[in-house]
């Protein structure tokens, strides 16, 4: 299950209880509910599933995951050259 896609918050309407906002996905935009991510601001990335944002993406942790894997790549490369 759970097709959830990351998108960038373009605008937020704070008035309504469902906190609707427009989110951009590579150039197309859709109105979704930001009720579960009150901390999300315009410009943040959120993960959207079935019309509702279920989390704000932690950009730092995202970068750390990639860094970890790149370190693994470098370590592997240096192990290979030592062989």
């Amino acid at each position: 299950m759970c097709l959830a896609v990351p998108g960038r918050v373009l605008s937020i309407d704070p008035e309504s209880v469902l906190r609707p906002g427009r989110v951009d996905f590579a150039g197309i935009s859709k109105q979704v509910s930001l009720a579960c991510v009150p901390e999300a601001r315009v410009g943040d990335y959120v993960l959207v599933h079935a019309g509702i944002a279920i989390t704000r993406i932690d950009e730092q942790l995202a970068a750390e995951t990639l860094d970890l894997l790149r370190q693994m790549q470098q370590q592997q490369a240096s192990e290979d050259t030592q062989l």
Partner: protein, 370 residues
């Protein structure tokens, strides 16, 4: 697309594949719970990249597959009523009940409409005050906040023509059922990253402690899945059994508190009969008494009844990972995506449909010489 493309980096995927080749010394069987992960594995051929010692088993994380036939029969019965607008995700439209699916009801004149979100169904209710609008609320915990928000919205707007037919299921009881079974051969799990985004992973930590198996909360892009497999194999090879979170950019230990509160307000845990598996206590959600008016089963006076599954269909065993689709006597002959018998053949990431689509020809090893 940001936060998608970086996690499809083929060089990093190759790095992990190579790492796995170096650290895998035994045969291990790992289950990925979520249908979305199954879909990614098959679409990107991730299982082809793994050393032969690692066997991936597809789990029951397909709410489409596990929705009981009886509930689909109820959906069809409601959808055929004159005054009803029946709304559903696309996934459910071709799933057969005991004699029909929603698309057939539509072709016979039922007003069946596909929506992207339960909130779209609320909009329809608001715009069509003379009609009864019913939303087929299927899904795991990932989708429960959207369903809960829809009910809450309908309540706020005092809509009297909106209801939901609930088929919400919970993942941890399913894993517990698999682990408790004497037939279980699964040694490690990739927990569903989007479910855990909502719920957190405390329940999974409890399963780790109780059953002493590694569980790694994993995302959905190829890199996430490879990374999740790697962390699981690392644990298995070193004899550890811990809860780990691979999908840190999205999952926190306690998940999304607001989403959980939203679910809590509207739903409560209930027993659920999983298609092909049977009844698992406290494995589903039902609307609380305060929201009874939004419960379509009550609103339309649907009697509860059970529908026996086709005895030759082994969907249950497939969903629990103890059999593979080609083991089934109906697979590929009587049961195909065009004429499905069991739900795993209909759903795009159901194990049987996935096998049918992607495995008709023996797969070659990936050809990196291009």
């Amino acid at each position: 697309m940001k936060y998608v493309d970086e996690y499809r980096d083929s060089e990093l995927v190759d790095t992990i594949a190579e790492r796995l080749r170096r650290i895998t010394t035994s045969h291990w069987r790992i289950m990925e719970i979520c249908g979305g992960q199954t879909h990614a594995i098959l679409r990107f051929g991730i299982d082809e990249l793994l050393p032969s010692g690692i066997e991936l088993v597809h789990g029951p994380g397909c709410p489409v597959c596990v929705t009981p036939a009886a509930l689909i029969d109820k959906a069809c019965s409601i959808a055929v009523l004159d005054n009803v607008i029946f709304c559903s995700f696309g996934d459910m439209l071709r799933v057969p009940g005991s004699h029909a699916d929603l698309l057939e009801v539509k072709s016979q004149g039922g007003d069946v409409r596909m929506v992207y979100s339960p909130l779209d169904a609320v909009t329809l209710a608001r715009e069509n005050p003379q009609r009864e609008v019913v939303f087929f609320a299927i899904g795991f915990e990932t989708t429960a906040p959207a369903s809960a928000a829809a009910v809450h919205q309908a309540e706020q707007e005092k809509l009297s023509n909106f209801s939901i037919l609930v088929s919400q299921v919970l993942v941890p009881p399913a894993i517990e059922a698999i682990l408790s079974s004497t037939h279980n051969l699964v040694q490690g799990f990739l927990a569903p990253g989007h479910v855990c985004t909502v719920t957190g992973y405390e329940d999974y930590a409890a399963l780790v402690r109780r059953f002493n198996v590694p569980i790694v909360v994993t995302g959905f892009e190829p890199l996430d899945i490879m990374h999740g497999i790697y962390l699981t194999i690392q644990q298995l090879e070193s004899g550890r059994a811990e809860i780990e979170n691979q999908y840190t950019r999205s999952v926190r230990p306690r998940g999304n508190e607001i989403a959980r509160q939203m679910i809590e307000r509207v739903f409560q845990a209930a027993s659920f009969s999983w298609r092909g598996v049977g009844e698992i206590p406290r494995s589903g959600l039902r609307l609380r008494e305060a929201y009874a008016q939004f419960d379509a089963e009550r609103r339309f006076g649907m009697e509860s009844y059970t529908t026996p599954d086709d005895p030759q269909c082994i969907a249950g065993a497939v969903l629990q990972g103890v059999r593979k689709p080609p083991d089934c006597s109906l697979f590929g002959s009587h049961c195909t995506p065009g004429h499905p018998v069991g739900a795993p053949m209909v759903s795009a990431e159901g194990a049987c449909a996935a096998y049918y689509r992607y495995r008709r020809v023996p797969r070659r090893r990936s050809d990196n010489s291009q």
